[in-house]
Symmetry: C2
Subunit: 476 residues, 2 copies
């Protein structure tokens, strides 16, 4: 069994396991109590705070432990917005932030605040100059991830932090994905992280708030963790989290080099081994252990199951996974294909053999899913494969007859079926002819243009549920 | 070392320890993922939910795990108020709820809501009929604890639940203190608990929301735990918490009988062994393991330290503990003495010998603190002990000379000094004479009347910082 979903959660690091065991016996009492058990708990908490602060690059009294990374983001953003309410109500975020950030932004908007979303390029990266322009005089806070959780692209966070500092706007950095690999440089104001992403236990997030940053904790008053994290401190978990962070940092540079090479191998080999595949995200400025690719004519959930059956655990940003009906907002913001999406994130210690076996298994898994959907290896070649007729594509010549035009009715069909049907009929029209695709699945908005980009046909736009694609040939 | 602060937090139950160990290796993955590790985590989470729901007495789909008991209360109250906003904005609470409830009520008030606080009698118990009267047509929610965390008094929660149900107002029960001992009966709508109070790990609370109760989760949208608890699920801790709850319930009845007898011994013996002591809370309708008493002329923090030095860990609701400058709101609502307050809460397994040794140690500890403050064993006898002069009490006969009146200037002096100085000079005035005490410490509002009640002198009221006490004798 190979677990390639490290970006989602990691097993407990052996050091964390040991620290947890030791501290469940020592750190269960209330650290606010003056008795012996309370003082012992307080000492453990203080030591864990020092360790974690050193890894984050802040003072211990600037660091609060929260109950999760999500909680750190919710609290950090809401508290910083409230603390800066007099400065204004604008919140600047990138379009590819974690949903915990975007949901907090939505709550801010519902409460009358203003949210300015900064887009990304096709690699998923924000442009620092565009960020500078998005900051207005009424900006209360800006939020940028250090690296993207779905495609691994590293953001220009130091540059953005400097721009924000110059504009007098605090920057909150969501460092959940990058914190195991190193501290975040630059003059950031707030920073959030999540322990189970670095081999610490679940139930521990951290929120650093630099001295001098205005902060008004949201929700009911509570005296724990300087008001930023209500509820009894989870000291054994906090101790384990801090110990794990120190341990992974000690191995980070060597492990990053090793995993970077393994990811490069996947980035190179997947498009060679699997036809009609797009590897997304920045190839260089990226997390060492994470790579994402999308496969045309593939149902993401079916591919997850096929890989699971072959003993590989990965995740997917496709809309066709059970938990969601819309494709990943990250892939959407990048404007890349979302169907048949696979995110591979290697845990520390992944071997070359595991990666090689993954590369052996993947082509068959993709082919199996394509065959099941009636989109065989030659699907991109369309009618040539004869699949169109076999699966009953609703294609008919346009009434005019003059300009060749074919309509595909994919209404009610979910990703990846609209694209599969488009691919099947494209050869039915001559070069310069048009295929009209009727599709109401949300993923089509992303995947039909992305398919055109990948196959060289011309996307001519969408009106309502009608997409127009003009066939191009090598000559046209 | 005897740890008598079970109501604050308990060490991990051996069953919880074992469950935690097993599930850190099995339950670290994201239960929302369809891969093998995710499915395994989901199975553990589902099983824990079934176990906990059975102990609470609700359906598994009515139970949400939260990151703490405090979080369960914050979310439960805020979400139920939001869900019932159309019904009205009145929140009914008892005056002796946990601070997490009262702080949420304050936040509700700051946001324009109405809070109606129901008082308690001298034992700390609410009156069900008074509760009925406090419910108005505009009531959105009512909150009542099952038992008080500071004095152990059990509330008429079943009766109140029935009254609320009849009035169509949902009742949230804070069951944090009673849940280890048994489920809460009656038609409650929401219920909150905290795992580290029953020997589960920190970082786990639970919030039950009965089907049909309107609930709008506060804060940013999040899909975990039906939206009630944002952030990655802490499955190993949840599994350990559920296992511990089942384990303590199996032993609850027998252990309750045993601890009840030990607490009865403390309730009887303390006033016999330590002069000028008041045992507070309902002597019968109470938690089995908890007893609270207050000692006149004693600094609560100093007494905690003296007991700590004698190897006993207890807690205190006195204002003179380092973390607070105001006396416990519970003792204040009850109108009982707050100075020299000690809460003893016995963990499961406490032995008779430990309790007996505590009763041996306590008188000396109290005497030591009193002696240090210049209030020896005979302090209540006032001038008779000659302490007044020795410590320079600012007492002088009133200028009139006719009606004997003495003024004590205790401005700027903290609890228990104003009461100590009052006791020293009371004998300086003849029966029927008056002592005016000038005191600006907040605890004096509670402790001077309580001292009068305990010593049989007449409290004649307070104006600003001036308290009037008329000396009574056995004849007067």
């Amino acid at each position: 069994m190979s677990y390639f979903d490290a970006a989602s959660s990691l097993p407990l690091h052996p050091v964390a396991r040991q620290a947890l065991l030791a501290s469940v016996d020592e750190g269960w009492a209330d650290p606010a109590r003056p008795h012996r058990e309370g003082r012992r708990a307080r000492m453990l908490l203080d030591a864990a705070r020092e360790t974690a602060a050193e890894a984050v690059g802040c003072r211990p009294d600037e660091l609060r432990f929260t109950s999760s990374g999500t909680h750190a983001l919710h609290t950090g953003i809401t508290g910083a917005l409230a603390g800066r309410r007099r400065a204004g109500r604008r919140l600047v975020v990138s379009a590819v932030e974690h949903s915990a950030v975007l949901h907090t932004a939505e709550a801010h908007e519902r409460a009358g605040g203003l949210v300015r979303e900064v887009g990304v390029d096709r690699s998923g990266r924000v442009d620092a100059q565009e960020w500078a322009r998005a900051l207005g005089e009424d900006s209360a806070l800006a939020c940028l991830q250090s690296a993207n959780h779905e495609v691994g692209t590293v953001q220009p966070v130091t540059e953005v932090a400097e721009i924000c500092a110059e504009a007098g706007v605090p920057l909150l950095v969501d460092a959940a994905q990058s914190l195991p690999w190193g501290p975040v440089a630059g003059p950031w104001s707030l920073l959030a992280g999540s322990a189970h992403k670095w081999g610490g236990p679940a139930g521990v997030g951290l929120l650093a708030i630099r001295k001098g940053v205005r902060f008004a904790p949201p929700g009911p008053v509570d005296e724990r963790e300087s008001g930023a994290a209500p509820g009894f401190e989870n000291i054994p978990a906090v101790v384990a989290a801090a110990a794990a962070l120190r341990a992974v940092r000690a191995e980070a540079d060597a492990e990053a080099d090793r995993l970077r090479a393994l990811v490069d191998r996947i980035r190179t080999r997947v498009p060679e081994l699997v036809p009609d595949t797009e590897v997304v995200g920045d190839p260089v400025r990226r997390l060492p252990h994470l790579v994402t690719f999308s496969c045309l004519y593939v149902d993401g959930e079916a591919l997850l199951h096929a890989l699971d059956a072959a003993d590989y655990s990965v995740s997917s940003g496709s809309s066709c996974t059970s938990s969601t009906l819309t494709p990943s907002h990250v892939l959407r913001a990048m404007g890349v294909l979302s169907e048949g999406n696979v995110r591979v994130s290697l845990p520390p210690g992944t071997t070359e053999e595991e990666v090689d076996r993954f590369l052996e298994v993947l082509p068959g898994a993709v082919e199996g899913v394509r065959a099941h959907l009636g989109a065989g290896a030659g699907a991109a070649a369309g009618a040539a494969t004869g699949i169109g007729a076999a699966t009953g594509t609703a294609a008919e010549p346009s009434p005019s007859g003059a300009t060749a035009e074919v309509t595909v009715d994919a209404l009610g069909k979910l990703c990846p079926l609209p694209v599969i049907e488009l691919a099947k009929v494209i050869e039915d029209v001559p070069a310069g002819g048009v295929v009209r695709v009727l599709a109401d699945d949300e993923a089509a908005r992303l995947d039909i243009p992305a398919w055109c980009e990948m196959t060289g046909h011309a996307f001519e736009g969408v009106e309502g549920v009608e997409y127009r694609v003009r066939r191009q040939t090598a000559d046209s």
